[in-house]
């Protein structure tokens, strides 16, 4: 799908366009222009319905992109990018607050969930109808819409090539990561905004194409209440939100027959809780799960120049069924530098040595660790999220970190910086180094864990007693209201959840279309 850059944002209402209270009517209103909301909005518009798409954040144009990580986070992420889930440990988490949602600032990984996860969803939560083969056509559709393809060889960069080298030496699976990127030049600036727009975030794809099909897009609108009567949805209310401060100005009232919530795993439950929807079994916001990620920095004799090449261009499924996925990692050096050891001149030496470094990480499917999302008191629409790492999941995390160390040794690293409290800050990369971690009594508070993959806070299932939506995405207790974001996943998808979230949104769109037909 190609889009003329000049036409990209035509048709999107912005903050300065609003001159008074808004009273709108449509067939369907979608909340959230991120990956899942954008899929739903596009599909419904393409089906010929009158659809409104709301996005709380502003447009972020290429001319707004800055390389500075701090400024980018402050301007594109909820709560200025300093949001964290309370718990042991605290888990920093980032969600986008811009047109395109997190797809504008994420690392573009688009991976199909393996069948064993759907087996788990069935066995643990009774989700019968959704499995890999029935979801494959929806994966196909979304992948075609976004031009998803494996990372091209010329865009890899050394950090990805060394990852492959290590996996090859150990006989482990590895492959170029499928991404929603077309024509990557390896700038590794996914986080601050792709300078060439090779990354096909939803603002320049599904949203832009949806507008051509009649989609009405309103940015800087914060949804505050799903309106309902007699167990049926009637629309949405909200306010015009200042692009920077989120301060409320004009009110927004939308009448709609269908409401689709793609506000994300943290914001959708808050919106529902603030709407006083029927929740007799108190399931909304419960069972929050995520993929905590732990990273190791390895140093090589050669220059790796980790700022060159696709941010996460390679990954490995070798240990997926065991419970973790290995991947290359890159983020702005200012963000990564915080986990370097030492102080003063020694710390600066590490910074100077970054050019010899690669950072690889593991993301973990934690079976026993859960959290919760609650709405804060008063008018705030911000979530109060907690997440507790269960000690029963620590052996998995320990093994994942050990495996990363073994991988670095196989790839030829000479020194490892594990970033683990109570361990040496630098460890020689020798054969068997992973066993040091395997023998270590690792606690969750020993590591800096970040979790940007969130799911299950409004999970699907056949039983209204322990789930929020059914297998069509419709809420058990509020007809006409669908949830399309990753909150519906009953358990971990084992891999980065974006593509599966989009495929589910694509599936649910079909049901919404049926509901809207006369």
């Amino acid at each position: 799908m190609t889009v003329n850059e000049n036409d990209l944002y035509q048709g999107v209402k912005e903050f300065h366009d609003y001159t008074g209270d808004l009273h709108l009517e449509c067939d369907a209103v979608v909340v959230g222009s991120g990956p899942t909301g954008a899929v739903a909005a596009y599909n419904l518009a393409e089906a010929g319905f009158d659809v409104i798409l709301l996005e709380a954040g502003p447009i972020r144009r290429p001319s707004d992109f800055v390389l500075d990580a701090g400024q980018t986070l402050a301007e594109t992420a909820w709560e200025g990018g300093v949001r964290a889930m309370r718990g042991n440990p605290m888990s920093p988490t980032i969600q986008g607050r811009v047109l395109g949602g997190s797809s504008l600032i994420n690392w573009a990984m688009c991976i199909r969930t393996p069948q064993f996860c759907f087996d788990d969803w069935r066995d643990s939560w009774g989700v019968q109808s959704i499995n890999r083969s029935m979801l494959d056509p929806h994966y196909d559709h979304v992948e075609k819409l976004l031009g998803i393809r494996p990372t091209e060889e010329h865009a890899l960069g050394k950090k990805n090539i060394l990852f492959k080298k290590g996996c090859d030496k150990l006989g482990w699976h590895s492959e170029p990561t499928p991404r929603n990127v077309v024509g990557c030049d390896g700038a590794a600036e996914c986080f601050t905004g792709c300078p060439t727009r090779a990354k096909k975030s939803t603002d320049i794809t599904l949203v832009a194409e949806g507008i051509k099909k009649g989609l009405r897009v309103y940015s800087s609108i914060m949804a505050t209440r799903v309106t309902h009567a007699g167990g049926r949805v009637t629309g949405l209310e909200g306010y015009v939100a200042h692009p920077k401060t989120n301060k409320a100005s004009y009110s927004v009232h939308i009448k709609a027959r269908v409401v689709a919530l793609g506000a994300g795993c943290l914001h959708t439950p808050v919106l529902l809780q603030k709407s006083n929807v029927d929740d007799p079994f108190k399931t909304i916001g419960k069972n929050l799960q995520c993929h905590p990620g732990a990273a190791v920095l390895g140093l090589f004799e050669e220059e790796v120049n980790p700022w060159e090449g696709a941010t996460q261009g390679y990954h490995s499924f070798q240990f997926l069924e065991q419970g973790f996925k290995l991947e290359v990692l890159w983020a702005p050096p200012a963000v990564l530098a915080v986990r370097l050891p030492d102080f003063g001149h020694a710390f600066k030496s590490h910074l100077a040595g970054f050019k010899h470094g690669a950072i690889w990480d593991a993301i973990f499917s934690m079976k026993h660790s859960f959290g919760q999302v609650k709405a804060r008191r008063g008018k705030s629409m911000m979530p109060d999220a907690t997440y507790r790492t269960d000690p029963r999941d620590m052996p998995l995390m320990r093994e994942g970190i050990a495996v990363l160390m073994d991988l670095f040794v196989a790839a030829g690293a000479h020194t490892l910086l594990p970033g683990i409290h109570r361990l040496p800050s630098e460890i020689p990369a020798k054969e068997g180094v992973g066993d040091m971690i395997r023998a270590f009594d690792l606690r969750a508070t020993d590591i800096v864990l970040a979790s940007t993959h969130l799911f299950s806070s409004t999970r699907m299932g056949p039983d209204p007693g322990n789930s929020v939506v059914d297998e069509t995405g419709e809420m058990h207790h509020l007809k006409g209201c669908y949830i399309v974001d990753t909150g519906v996943m009953p358990r971990s998808p084992a891999v980065n959840p974006m593509l599966t979230g989009m495929a589910l949104a694509d599936l649910f769109s079909g049901f919404m279309i049926e509901k809207l037909k006369p």
């Binding site: 701090g70 030049d185 530098a337």
Partner: protein, 169 residues
Amino acid sequence: MHLLLLIAVAAVAWRFLGGYPQPSRSYTNLFRSEVAILNAAGEVLFPAGGALSPGHDEAGITEYTDNYFGWHGLRNRTLMRLLLILFEHATILFVPSWQRMSQLAPEKRLAYLRGWAESDLYMRRMAFESLRAIMCMGYIGNQQVIKEMGIYRPEAAEKNAIIQRQPEA
């Protein structure tokens, strides 16, 4: 008795609020005390010379943080202010010393901050990570530091960038 009490209150007030030097330049968002705190932390965490020539001053960490405060709303700014206050005044507990962090001799100041970074108390370590995160953003946001670290944008990406930026002078 009342005089003694007055002197005690004045001493405590001075300890917490008084004696901060006038900064050498004006700042939009930072208070005088915050400038002093950041400069003091920067002096030991990002000294001049060594593997990367700029120190905290030349890299403009305090100026960056002034901008950083401006990019955030009231809630985050308040949290960051509290963070700086915590580091400045917790010397009473963790050195222990009546002197504020910004008044400690550099070696003592570095040891004090190291104590936060290496503490067995998780929240102390997290507090240090938060402080260092802000300062790292400032340090690595400096063009000279970026140049000396060897960071660059690949030629192909530079050529194809939609917005061509002029390099900073």
